[in-house]
């Protein structure tokens, strides 16, 4: 049964709730004990509209743009939908009403109350009321006969009564329910359901079963039950086609039966087992919304339709009806959106035409067209998937609506992966643009807030550090929607309007002249989509897929095209990170590409438009750099990923912010990332994705945690620590290679920590008798730590391991040596080269860089190489060269000095490692006093290594001996027994 249970989300405060869909299925409407009615565009809607209807709302019904609610103030009220304006009071009771229901046509409302009465009221004229008296206890629920003749009601007195509405008389009554004295103490809410269309069956939840009564004969014809149901059924609801019956129980079980075959077609359990108290079908019959007594809202998606192959003509007719309904709705909505952006009118019109004659098979093409003017599409980045699939969206985006749901009979079915709405461009650290008070950006420098309400349209700029600049308040006459902030300037941009072009405004407050502001108009038809400020430059990506660079003073610089529409940009120093749409994503995934450019003097592209990895069905939520300059981003699933420059520019997940969230709908809104100290600065948002501007949110700090396996074990923890530490020190090598000063002390500290961790892991593996693993760990160590490991191994009597480690230590020592020699060779080359024979500059570049190599390589101990650079002792190679120069010259007399060295180098390399080592040692002996202490130490260590090997041999011998004796002893012991 392929039905998708969407995760529950917070809807109302704890208590009784009710849910329904609007006629077109565009909105989910819920009410709860907080007295609010919320209108959700989809389950993912983070910003539902709320209408307050009283202190508590017990029940709601929605039909024909009228929203009827039963509130705690003893009245049944009407509100217009979706505006939510109060439209009068329908009727009053002496206590509160418990349940309200519309009839099929929407002309009447029935309301049951705790004062034992049921009232039927004409919506158009509330003075025409019919009162049905006869219950002896509070009324639990009411439902209309779809043919408007009868009304059924259930009451706490244990009876279910059928009334003839016109005559206000009881037709029949079944005492099937358990008696109780109030709705709150009743075992079940006993929401009745009358089969739509045919009006043949009335479903009554009785205990663990659902009784079906036949119309007119009023006989109990059948019972639906499910073994999984262990607690009373609270609510039942017929699918719009009238063939399926859904039921929700106190224990949180949801079951769907086929009423004809009486077979259970779908079975789901509430994720927390809370009582289901509201249940509603989407008009398409493919979705089922439910609410629980804890105030949460849930959705079952992709429900099986009632034997979709054998649809009755009646059902199809209804589908046509629905379709028309929706069309009406859309016309209206388009009218609405047109008033918002009149410029888009022709486009919307064109799309409408498309809708009529284009087949869904061309959905992709249309998708692209919708993508082009997607400022018109949904308001938030929340991908209104579940809803958007079936209900039509309000504009161009709707063309992507897949051919499911009501339109099924009209269009040929396409059952492949469905394209995702491309996410809209955004500024990192901003909240959605439709809010009246919003953050336009929040970064490590400061906060830009935008106000756009009745009194004021303004922008507030505030700096975290008031030493940078004092706070600014600007009137937002141009209607800026995008902003970025750096230590030097504020950059703002507004979209184009009818008369005015899209503008880029920069407040360059750090400028030393008197003119601190500049404005640039973009060419007609081009809108700024994303902007960013770097150090001394600014960039703006536009709707024409171009990226324009400016200096911070306003000089136009390079312009280049992006491969797709921009999603977001970030900058740090001279680096620019651009994320754009690489193509159309499918099944909820986004297809994003990323470019990393190095601007400034040495311009180059570091990442060439590779795909940006995102979590499943997630979109990009934040993009930026760490304070140290490593690119970093967060997706909507809360996973923070960081560029790993030492692993071929791959992206490593460093933290999942959702793991630290307490609630399901809580999020962390990331504002900055620091590598040293390891901090993820973010704002905790309770029940939403982004924070409100008031009260001012406070920043919290999250630690990084690589998602390695088994981090509960000691081994896993240390591995995680080690790799986190190595990942987060990548920035040292990057910074030094791009010419920044680095914190040597910090880096050394980091390396020491890593080596310590390695040693700990080594000891742990030793304890666990995993010698192979020990070797693997040793390979990650530096040479000096390996010698430590050798000592550890020999002390814990692992001779085999010690020996292998010793070999490794030698190897590492040799490597180190070779590196040094290479370096020296290069230096020599530089010394010997005349300018004439010098290689061309581009090749000289890398060699110059290589001389810095050991600084970049974290495993090579730094001070040693430094000393060797400065003091330059006589090396083994030089010694060897002196002795063999003659023979080389004799071999090839016409060589230049440099060539001689090269040839010598080649033959020196071909010597065996021991020979080379001996030469080096000789060299050391010669260099005498000047010799570097460290080197000497290493020789000692090597010596120690030798010693330990000797020791090891001895030990082996000893061990053999002891083994012999123990064997004897054990044999003795055995004999004795």
């Amino acid at each position: 049964m392929p039905c998708e249970r969407k995760p529950m989300r917070y809807g109302h405060s704890e208590g009784h709730t009710d849910v329904t869909f609007d006629d077109a299925g565009k909105f989910i409407v819920t009410c709860g004990s907080d007295g609010d009615v919320r209108i959700w565009e989809s389950l993912d809607d983070d910003d539902p509209r709320s209408i307050n209807v009283g202190e508590k709302a017990y029940s709601l019904a929605l039909k024909k743009r009228k929203l009827v609610t039963a509130g705690s103030n003893n009245t049944v009220q009407i509100h217009t939908f979706p505006e939510g304006d109060p439209d009068g009071i329908l009727t009053r009771f002496t206590t509160h009403a418990t349940h309200v229901a519309f009839n099929h046509s929407g002309s009447r409302v029935a309301a049951g109350s705790s004062d034992f009465m049921v009232k039927v009221v004409e919506v158009a004229d509330s003075s025409q009321q019919k009162t049905l008296r006869g219950h002896d206890a509070p009324v639990l629920s009411v439902t209309f006969d779809p043919k408007d003749e009868f009304l059924a009601s259930a009451s706490c007195d244990g009876s279910v009564v059928i009334w003839k509405i016109d005559e206000q008389t009881k037709v029949t009554s079944w005492p099937v329910l358990q008696k109780s004295n109030d709705v709150s103490t009743a075992k079940s809410l006993c929401r009745l359901g009358w089969q739509p269309k045919t009006a043949k069956l009335l479903a009554v939840p009785v205990g663990l079963k659902v009784h079906l009564y036949e119309r007119d004969s009023w006989e109990h014809v059948s019972t639906l039950s499910d073994d999984m149901m262990t607690q009373p059924i609270n609510v039942v609801a017929w699918s719009p086609c009238g063939q399926l019956l859904a039921a929700g129980s106190v224990g949180g079980f949801l079951t769907v039966w086929n009423a004809e075959s009486k077979l259970c077609v779908e079975r789901q359990k509430h994720e927390k087992g809370y009582t289901v108290c509201g249940l509603a079908w989407h008009p398409s019959g493919r979705q089922l919304a439910y609410t629980d007594t804890q105030g949460s809202l849930g959705l079952l998606d992709d429900l099986p339709t009632a034997s979709s192959a054998t649809k009755t003509p009646k059902v199809a007719a209804n589908d046509y009806d629905d379709l028309f309904d929706e069309d009406d709705d859309r016309a209206m909505d388009e009218g609405l959106s047109d008033t918002h952006s009149p410029a888009k009118r022709p486009v919307a019109g064109g799309d409408d035409d498309d809708d009529d004659d284009l087949m869904p098979a061309t959905g992709r093409v249309k998708n692209r067209s919708s993508f082009l003017d997607d400022e018109n599409s949904l308001d938030t980045v929340s991908l209104a998937l579940g809803q958007g699939k079936y209900g039509d969206d309000d504009d161009a985006g709707s063309t992507v609506a897949p051919p499911t749901g009501p339109s099924l009979p009209l269009r040929p079915a396409y059952e492949g992966p469905l394209p995702t709405l491309p996410q809209k461009p955004f500024q990192p650290g901003s909240t959605p643009a439709h809010l009246t008070h919003r953050f336009m950006t929040w970064n490590s420098v400061g906060v830009v807030r935008g106000y756009n309400d009745d009194q004021d349209n303004a922008v507030d700029v505030e700096f975290h550090d008031t030493a940078v600049h004092h706070a600014m308040h600007l009137t937002n006459a141009l209607g800026h929607t995008l902003a970025d902030l750096s230590q030097e300037a504020v950059l703002l941009a507004c979209p184009a309007t009818d008369e005015l072009a899209s503008k880029l405004q920069c407040l360059h407050f750090s400028s030393w002249d008197a003119n601190k502001e500049w404005i640039v108009d973009l060419p007609a038809g081009e809108d700024v989509r994303a902007l960013v400020l770097g150090q001394g430059w600014a960039a703006a990506a536009t709707s024409a897929r171009t990226l324009r660079l400016f200096t911070v003073g306003g000089v136009q610089k390079e312009i280049f095209s992006l491969p797709g529409h921009v999603v977001s940009m970030a900058a740090h120093g001279e680096q620019l990170l651009v994320v754009y749409h690489r193509g159309t994503g499918f099944d909820g995934d986004q297809a994003l590409g990323v470019q990393l450019l190095q601007l400034g003097r040495r311009k180059r592209q570091v990442i060439h438009g590779e795909p940006l990895p995102l979590s499943c069905k997630a979109h990009l939520a934040w993009l930026g750099f760490t304070a140290e300059g490593t690119p970093c981003y967060v997706d909507s699933e809360g996973v923070v990923r960081m560029l790993n420059r030492s692993l071929g520019n791959t992206w490593t997940p460093v933290c999942n912010t959702r793991e630290t969230c307490k609630g399901k709908s809580d999020h962390f809104w990331v504002v900055a990332v620091h590598e040293n100290p390891q901090q993820l600065r973010c704002i905790p948002c309770k029940g939403s994705r982004y924070p409100p501007t008031l009260p001012r949110p406070a920043v919290a700090i999250l630690p990084f945690k690589l998602p390695l396996c088994q981090t509960t074990t000691e081994k896993g923890q240390m591995e995680e620590q080690y790799w986190r530490s190595t990942l987060l020190q990548n920035h040292y090598s990057f910074l030094s290679s791009s010419g920044y000063e680095i914190d040597d002390e910090g880096q050394n500290q980091n390396q020491k920590e890593q080596q310590e961790l390695l040693m700990k892991m080594f000891a742990l593996s030793c304890k666990l008798e995993r010698e192979f693993r020990c070797m693997e760990l040793a390979e990650l160590m530096t040479q000096s730590v390996v010698t430590l490991a050798v000592r550890y191994a020999s002390r814990s009597r692992r001779m085999n391991l010690a020996q292998r480690l010793n070999e490794l230590a030698m190897e590492k020592a040799n490597q180190l040596q070779e590196e040094q020699e290479q370096e020296e060779e290069e230096v020599q080359e530089e010394e010997h080269h005349t300018p004439r024979s010098r290689r061309p500059a581009p090749l000289g570049g890398p060699s110059g860089k290589q001389s810095k190599g050991p600084v970049l390589k974290p495993l090579a101990p730094k001070p040693k190489t430094k000393v060797s650079l400065i003091q330059r002792p006589w090396t083994g190679f030089q010694l060897w060269l002196e002795e063999n120069r003659k023979s080389i010259l004799a071999d090839s007399p016409d060589l230049q000095e440099t060539d001689v060295i090269k040839a010598a180098m080649g033959s020196f390399r071909s010597l065996s490692a021991e020979d080379r080592l001996s030469w080096t040692e000789r060299a050391k002996g010669q260099s005498g006093e000047a010799a570097d202490l460290k080197k000497r130490k290493r020789v000692e260590e090597a010596g120690e290594g030798d010693e330990s090997r000797v020791k090891a041999d001895e030990n082996i011998a000893k061990k053999k001996k002891s083994l012999d004796t123990t064997a004897k002893l054990s044999a003795f012991a055995f004999n004795k027994n």
């Binding site: 400061g446 975290h464 550090d465 008031t466 600065r681 009260p695 406070a698 920043v699 919290a700 700090i701």
Partner: protein
């Protein structure tokens, strides 16, 4: 003890501030503070927080308990119970006064909080008076009062002790013969 002295002690309590300047760790006798990063919350004693606030160098984050909902709950509890309930903070009165006087712009619903804390204070002081009254009228030798804050003890101490002394004197004058043996042992 003087109320100002109690207030002085309360200034050692820790609050969170958001500085708008950057400064390395500072090393004080009472412990290290900082480092201060602009925009990042940091914990400091109240005296420093107020000093920085007065110089407009920081924003004070109200303590957890200084929240309308929580204080309302405490007030209800305080009214329901006959004995003293645990106070929201051992220096709740002093901190409220200090923070609301100097940083009311950083505390949401400052007026409501002021009223609530005053309500709690009044309720507690009334209880204190009542217990003192029954203590004296029943001529008890000792009584145990839990969950009193320093400030509350200090408001009644001098008066209570003074009046007890006074009463002792009066009583011993009235019954000169038996006074020393029967008088309550203070």
């Amino acid at each position: 003890m003087d109320p100002t002295e109690v207030e002085f002690l309360a200034e050692k309590e820790i609050v969170k501030i958001i500085p708008n300047f950057s400064l390395d760790k500072i090393y004080l006798i009472g412990g290290d503070l900082g480092p201060f990063n602009p925009g990042l919350p940091v914990q400091v004693p109240v005296w420093l927080a107020l000093n920085l606030k007065q110089r407009q160098k920081c924003r004070i984050l109200p303590p957890q308990w200084m929240d309308v909902d929580k204080l309302e709950e405490v007030r209800e509890m305080e009214r329901k119970e006959d004995s003293f309930t645990p106070p929201p903070s051992p220096y709740y009165m002093e901190l409220t006064k200090l923070l609301l006087n100097h940083a009311s712009d950083n505390i949401p619903k400052a007026d409501e909080i002021r009223t609530l804390v005053k309500d709690i204070w009044d309720t507690r002081i009334a209880k204190l008076r009542l217990s003192a009254d029954s203590f004296i009228s029943q001529q008890e030798a000792h009584a145990k009062l839990d969950n009193l804050t320093l400030m509350e003890i200090n408001t009644t101490r001098s008066f209570l002790l003074g009046s007890l002394n006074c009463m002792f004197k009066l009583r011993s004058n009235m019954q000169p013969g038996t006074s020393t043996g029967k008088g309550p042992d203070y």
